[in-house]
């Protein structure tokens, strides 16, 4: 008989009551109506368990750190028991040859049926030598493991967009995984790190419904990345009113005004921070008085200062933004016009002088 998720959970000591609670909790956090709780329960009781292989490339493990801090203890227990069985470099009990053997076995046994979750990305320079795992370049392991996966999850800004190791000049040529893996559905869950509840939500959705969540144009799950921080920010009324923090620690900062002028990237950042928040829903950056730095946006390290709204455009030199480039162009045009007008007036005056002398019109 094939093992189901439910079997695994029971074996891990999770009661049926907790299991059902988990199902309704999951339905709620995914924004589904309550009837889905029963559907989730049924799926987990009947469908064979889908293994998850969690690979780590060039990264800092902040995604794993975030993941294991998922707020609700139940979610944590359930999701971890669903996953820890398989392969996760940081969390698994096995090590060395034993661990590598396990990976090989899962790949063989569940060929085409496991989910590959990738934290970090492969560096491609020097044949991938900047990231070696088990004596081999990570890029090779990634490609092989992806080849037999059912679907791939790109955790965090690293796997999705490259993050800091891919920031200019990117000496190791760290490359987002979707540039290396082809022909597999890839779910991008950007953020540095992504929010724990978003991560568990995505995993649970994929494991229970056996399909990937609906994605937007950039491959992110719509249910968590459909809106900007700005769209749901609790300081938004101050933005609309025109009330801004003008300087760090000024009176307006104490009043909790909008951080737009301090360079808040909330208006250009898609993530769930302003609704789900962090650390068990305690707070999020804007709530503690600092603007969003746009950590879930593509190339956020290279998009200019975290403290400017009109940010630098690298193509025009190091310290130039649209206002400086455009303002200069407009000023030069204005000055040229003034000089040209003076010269034209002179020419006209001369012409009418000549006309008088020669008696022309």
């Amino acid at each position: 008989m094939t093992e189901t998720f439910y079997d695994v959970l029971r074996r891990q000591g999770i009661s049926r009551r907790s299991f059902l609670k988990f199902c309704s909790l999951t339905a709620t956090s995914l924004g589904l109506d309550s009837s889905y709780a029963a559907e989730i329960a049924k799926a987990m009781e009947t469908k064979p368990r889908t293994p998850v292989i969690w690979l780590e490339g060039l990264e800092c493990t902040c995604c794993s750190e975030s993941f294991i801090r998922s707020a609700h203890p139940l979610t944590k227990d359930v999701v971890l028991s669903m996953m820890s069985l398989d392969y996760h470099v940081t969390l698994m009990a096995a090590a060395g040859h034993q661990a590598e053997k396990q990976l090989e076995e899962i790949k063989k046994k569940y060929k085409g049926n496991y989910i590959l979750a990738v934290e970090g990305n492969p560096p491609l320079n020097e044949d991938g030598m900047f990231c070696i795992e088990g004596g081999r370049p990570f890029v090779e392991i990634l490609k092989e493991t992806a080849a037999d996966a059912k679907a791939v999850i790109a955790w965090g800004a690293c796997a999705s967009y490259g993050c800091v190791q891919a920031a200019k000049p990117n000496p190791t040529r760290a490359t987002p995984i979707d540039k290396v893996i082809s022909g597999k559905p890839i779910v991008k869950v950007p953020g540095c790190p992504p929010i724990a509840e978003v991560m568990t939500g995505v995993v649970t959705y994929m494991l229970t419904f056996d399909r990937i969540p609906e994605l937007d144009r950039q491959g992110r799950p719509k249910m968590f990345y459909g809106q900007r921080i700005h769209d749901k920010c609790y300081r938004r009324p101050h933005f609309d009113a025109g009330q801004f923090v003008e300087q760090w620690d000024d009176e307006n900062a104490r009043k909790g005004y909008c951080l737009y002028k301090m360079g808040c990237k909330g208006p250009t950042t898609y993530n769930a921070c302003s609704t789900v928040r962090w650390n068990d829903g305690v707070s999020f950056p804007i709530q503690s008085g600092h603007g969003c730095i746009g950590c879930s946006e593509e190339g956020f390290w290279d998009k200019g200062s975290f403290y400017d709204r009109v940010t630098d455009i690298k193509q025009f030199g190091v310290e130039s933004n649209a206002d400086k480039v455009g303002g200069t162009a407009a000023a030069v045009a204005g000055a040229a016009v003034a000089v040209h007008a003076a010269a034209s007036a002179l020419k006209k005056a001369k012409k009418s002088d000549n006309d008088k002398v020669t008696g022309g019109n």
Partner: protein, 236 residues
């Protein structure tokens, strides 16, 4: 055809003989021009203030809506600008051939290139007289194409893409223009391009107004009154 014969042909065009008056810009074109001018002023000022807001207002947030009104003015003017542009395209199809000038560059026509050279020389004070043109002179034509037609398309596409972020996934703005954002490398980069486009148009407006006033005085044809009455009169 070499440049000299092109020049001679331009010089002796009977349509532009001194004292002659030609009907150039039909009503809808003129109306569009002035509505557009107004839109550009409103869009540039409000757009700048969205990027760099005014000093903070005091009082309860619920009692103020300054940023909201500024954004509203921007979006309202943007809709008028975009719809105007579409009507203008329609008129380019049904209107007279001058109405089409804004949308086509005759880059294969040596006469046009000769005209550009002559205009540049005229602005550098190297020519006594410019040629006369019923429509736009070639240099103006090139600038209009780049800073009115191309720039308007850039602004409409980036603008509606940014608007779609507020309108939400699945809105018509998102379905029609949402793809622009990932193409330009994200929301922040799209803002930067939209901002640069504004400065491009402002720079053009400065040159355009100056050139129109100057040509009205110094060239051999009317300019400003032509965009009001539609008639162009030629002088010696």
């Amino acid at each position: 055809m070499n440049l000299n014969t092109a020049a001679a042909e331009l010089e002796n065009d009977p349509e532009t003989a001194a004292g002659k008056t030609v009907y150039v810009y039909e009503g809808p074109v003129r109306l569009w021009h002035w509505i557009n001018a107004l839109c550009i002023v409103v869009l540039s000022v409000t757009g700048y203030l969205i990027g760099s807001p005014l000093p903070s207002v005091s009082g309860e947030a619920s009692a103020n809506f300054l940023m909201g009104y500024i954004r509203f003015a921007h979006f309202a003017a943007a809709y008028i600008f975009a719809i105007g542009f579409m009507v203008r395209i329609y008129w380019a199809i049904v209107g007279n051939h001058h109405a089409r000038q804004l949308f086509m560059l005759p880059i294969t026509d040596p006469k046009w290139w000769a005209g550009i050279v002559r205009e540049i020389r005229w602005y550098l004070f190297l020519e006594k007289q410019p040629y006369k043109y019923v429509g736009h002179n070639p240099l103006a034509h090139l600038f209009m194409f780049l800073f009115v037609t191309v720039a308007a398309v850039l602004m409409i596409f980036t603008g509606f893409a940014l608007y779609s972020e507020g309108a939400g996934l699945g809105s018509w703005q998102d379905r029609l223009f949402g793809w622009v954002i990932p193409m330009l490398g994200g929301s922040q980069a799209t803002h930067s391009w939209h901002h640069l486009g504004m400065w491009g148009i402002v720079t053009f407006v400065i040159l355009h107004v100056y050139a129109a006033v100057r040509e009205d005085i110094m060239s051999r044809q009317t300019m400003i009154s032509t965009m009001i009455s539609g008639q162009r009169t030629f002088r010696e």
